[in-house]
């Protein structure tokens, strides 16, 4: 009798169950539910080598960032792996910088001025491309976000919003930023150190990044090693 009781106790013991329910386990279960419902299965898109431990885009998800550089760096890996990229509503996005981060402009579609139609344009573009960078001209309502989210799942695509996105799967903000290479009247901008805070489900993570580094590559920053050239120029 006591054995049975213990078993039942264990069944309701919250702490015993919780260690197994890590975010990855939850994701897996969510995928299984989706698979049973017959909707598309989420897949992980390629990311730049320097960013693979920081953030990996998954199809069917929406991300919010506050910096165009970060948005471009996030989608560059997918573009290099052969995916098509769409850019909606961002006429002042530097395309040269996009190419510098590794986005293949041959496989990029730009709609700079969608106006009020930005939502339908983004939805239409999802037929064609795998990742969309969008900069909404007006605040996005939760309902619009939800509708686009289901579309993302069906079309097997990801969305990176330059701005606010209600209930995004991850929100990336640059909390610290400093440029290297510029002196008082001499030098030129060469590299940028940023600290990105990532809110993705659990607690906020902070990551230090070169965006871009002195070799024009995005990389995770190891603070103990500072390139000599940068130290001199700064």
């Amino acid at each position: 009798m006591s054995v049975v009781l213990t078993m039942i106790e264990y069944m309701f013991d919250y702490r015993r169950v919780s260690p197994a329910a890590t975010p990855s386990r939850i994701n897996e279960l969510q995928q299984r539910v989706q698979r049973m419902q017959g909707s598309a299965i989420s897949r992980t898109l390629e990311s730049l080598p320097g960013l693979s431990d920081v953030i990996q885009l998954r199809t069917g998800e929406a991300y919010a960032v506050d910096s165009p550089s970060l948005a471009m760096a996030m989608v560059a890996g997918a573009s290099q792996a052969g995916e098509w990229i769409g850019i909606v509503g961002a006429p002042d996005l530097g395309l040269e910088a996009a190419a510098g981060f590794g986005i293949d402009l041959e496989r990029t579609v730009v709609v700079p001025h969608p106006g009020e139609l930005w939502l339908s344009v983004t939805a239409g573009l999802l037929d064609v491309v795998s990742v969309v960078i969008v900069k909404p001209s007006v605040p996005v309502s939760a309902q619009q976000a939800e509708r686009l989210k289901s579309r993302l799942r069906i079309k097997d695509a990801a969305l990176v919003c330059w701005g606010e996105w209600p209930r995004s799967d991850a929100t990336l903000t640059i909390t610290e930023s400093s440029w290297l290479g510029l002196g008082r009247g001499h030098g030129r901008l060469t590299a940028r150190r940023v600290v990105v805070s990532i809110r993705q489900g659990g607690p906020v993570r902070r990551v230090s990044l070169w965006l871009p580094g002195i070799d024009q590559q995005v990389a995770e920053r190891n603070d103990t090693v500072v390139p000599l050239v940068v130290a001199q120029a700064g």
């Binding site: 165009p68 471009m72 002042d92 530097g94 996009a98 190419a99 510029l182 002196g183 030129r188």
Partner: protein, 501 residues
Amino acid sequence: MAIWCPDWPVVAAAAHLGLSVQLPLAVFERGEVYACSTMARVEGVRRGMRRRDASARCPELTVLERNEASEIRTFEDVLSAIEEISAGVAPVRPGLCALRVPSRFYGGEKEAAAVVAEHLVSAGVWDFRIGIADGIFAAEHAARRAAPQDCWIIAPGGSAAFLAVLPIGVLENAELVTLLRRLGIRSIGDFAALTTRDVLTRFGQVGALLHRLARGLDTRPVVSRRPPLDVNQRVAFTPALETVEPIVFSTRQTAERLVAELAHHGLVCTEVRIEVVTEGGWTGSRVWAHSRWFAASDLIDRIYWQLQGDPAPEPVCELRLLPESVESLADHGEGLWGSALNEHVERGIARLQGMLGPEEVLAPSLQGGRSPRDRPLLSAWGERQPTQRNPQLPWPGAIPPPAPARVFSTPLPSVVLSEDHRPVRVSNRGLVTAAPAFVSIGEDSELIPVDAWAGPWPIDELWWDPAQARRVARFQVTGVDGSAWLLVVENDQWWTEARYD
């Protein structure tokens, strides 16, 4: 048979500009006379003369620039006139074409030439000469000897004798001709008298070929051109239609017929001109290009966009589809495993273009330029790229990477102040009057203390063209808040061109 129209560049240029060939005219290429009219020749203008010398000989000379495309286009009329009576015309160059003599049909060479001459005159070509010989080379020179609208016939096997008396200059190979003159060979006959072996060892393949021509052994076959396909399609509307939808709907079959007709010849259309004609005679015309090739549905889309973007002021009575460039289907065929992805992309983008208009969906690429605003090149999806500046060239004065992540389409007016709040200026010698200490980006925004700065990097662009000349200096500035900007100063006014964001 060779048909030669003398001074064709002049005739073509005169027809293009609506001038009379009776005036003294001269067509110039690279500052030298390329061809001149009879009147000009009488006044002493010669080929190869410089502009000043030609004007000195003949003060009333009309100077024309050479336009090779228009020469070819005008000669097309002559070719099609000849094709009406004899198939297989081989254009040699604008002003000269060759064909096999249709003598059996017309009962003799002279008769055939007379028929051709009569037909050309009735088609409005006045000045031409006809030469008949065994080869094209001899026939061309026979034509030069003939009277206007007449023919000069060289009997079979008589080419060598006819050519022998001509000066060596007719070979039209300046290098070889000068060399032969210095060797004392003055006429074609002298050249033909050399042995083939000597010519081949001394002058190589080119010399040997010209030697064959000189001996009257011109065996180049007359390669006839294929008459261009007439695939233009038109739809007439009776009564004329006003609204877009019925027009597009009624054009569907025609578009399908055009694509099917081209496919029948193994061709696809990559560029099409759509012409809309209204009752009142208004014509709207536009060329559309496709990054792959036009299917019937693509043509329908383009018609729809054209009618939407450039609406006809009156009811439309006719619509024409004129393929501007057609290519072989083999170059555009689908791969063995299909090209489903690209087709899928094209279709999706066409839908977006239908929603927003064709100019709103863009394909980006990079070009050369100094300002970050000059470097991206955006062209409407599917349209041919406009001429671009070469990005491979060094472009001295361009800002080295990293490129700014935000480039403002219109630069923001800015203010840069020194430590004592006085505006910073750049002197004529390219020096700053004081170190920048505060910067405000955009109108009425707050001052940000400057952390670091570099510049000025002066650029004196297009100084030779007063209308476009720009004298600017660029600065990179970082604020204490970590923001970085690209500023430009022109005539003491500061602008922010881009943000390193």
